[in-house]
Amino acid sequence: MNKFLKDLEKELKNLKVSEKDIKEILDDHKEMIEAAMNDGLDELQIEEKFGKPKTLAKDLQDDTSKLDEKTNYNFSDVGSCVKVDTNSFNLVKTFPMISEEFSITIGLISDDFNLTPYDGESIQVYEKNVKKIEEYTILFEKNELLIKKDKVKIKVFSFSSNSGEFLVLVPKDIDISKFDYKTVSGDANVNGVKSEDINVKSTSGDLELTNIDGKNMKFTTVSGDIEILRLQGNQFEVSVVSGDLEMKHVVIKGNMELHSVSGDVELFEVECEEADFKTVSGDLEGNEFYPSQVSLKSVSGDITITNRNVLKDINIISKKTVSGDININ
């Protein structure tokens, strides 16, 4: 059975599992194989029972890497770094970080935008497939990082929808005084922003926001979807017209306003003081949604809130609906 352990060790090393994890896994297997032998199983039976080291190693690696993504983060450490692959991007500009604080203003049309903290000391701006980089303003002035698509005359017959992508890396653990993002159709993926004011506005671009810590936050889209994972702050306002909104692991110390016309809203593990939800035909589905007070208003959308913790009381200030159902379990 030593062969099984040796093979397993080799496979785990190949998959770059950490030394500590490998040791633990091997110790567990030594113990389990010993128990199997004490049970009277022979080599062949054990082989059958334990399966192939290669598949086992793969399964273990899958699970470990997924876990690391999940557990590496906590709210006191918003700047948790994601390994960023900049290989497919071209470096456009680098700005040294001299001050403790700065603001970010982004104004794009159709280009996608990514922002994430990293282990470096300067602000780095990258691009991929951006045509005519000369038509953009990219500068750092008066403690403000500005990336903007300049207004150009739109040729009537050009359907040039050649949109590219920007990637901005900011030093981790740095406070951003203001984060202002506007786009028309570009998608945004923003990770790890800690900022007083966060304003995000998109027409049809989708927004993906992860690890966000802000005092006052306002997110608006028309048809773009919003996906939020891990967010905390004092005041939070989200408004969508037809885009869907999904929020997971959100803690708001103050009030939260959610407005939707026809977009569906899905909440999971969301806490706040006073919650105000308004919709016309969108549904609201809240699981583990704990506002201390809540106002619900819907025309035809259904509202369902399901909570497991029955000890936490939710005070319902008002609920109004025309043809939708409101269920609070």
Binding site: I25, D28, H29, K30, E31, M32, E34, A35, A36, N38, D39, E48, K49, F50, G51, K52, T55, L56, D59, L60, D62, D63, T64, L67, T71, R308
Partner: protein
Amino acid sequence: MNAQFKRGIVELCVLSELVMEDMYGYRIINNISKDIDVNENTIYPILRRLTKEGHFTTYLVESDLGAPRKYYKVTEKGFNYYLELRDSWDNFIGGVYEILNRGGKKNEQISERFRKRVKKSKSE
């Protein structure tokens, strides 16, 4: 069977075993593989992941037959998770049987119905 699907079911089984009593790894594997066709390489990663996620804790117990054994114990969080999973499983499997039973409960009944139907469509 689809690997992802199987993993979910095995996860439920592992939880169920440990909700009954604390056990060491091999015992869990043995208990489960008695009834369903799985081997260690499905169960161990689940044990490890659920432990990391705080659904289980572990402790060592000396053994007469060699090295001490690692016992797995369900935490409060793990127990709640089990209830949740169990609920969705019951709902799901209940729904599946609703659908299957519409076509008959026993194989003979199902075959009979099916043959009749085939015959009928042939004669038409």
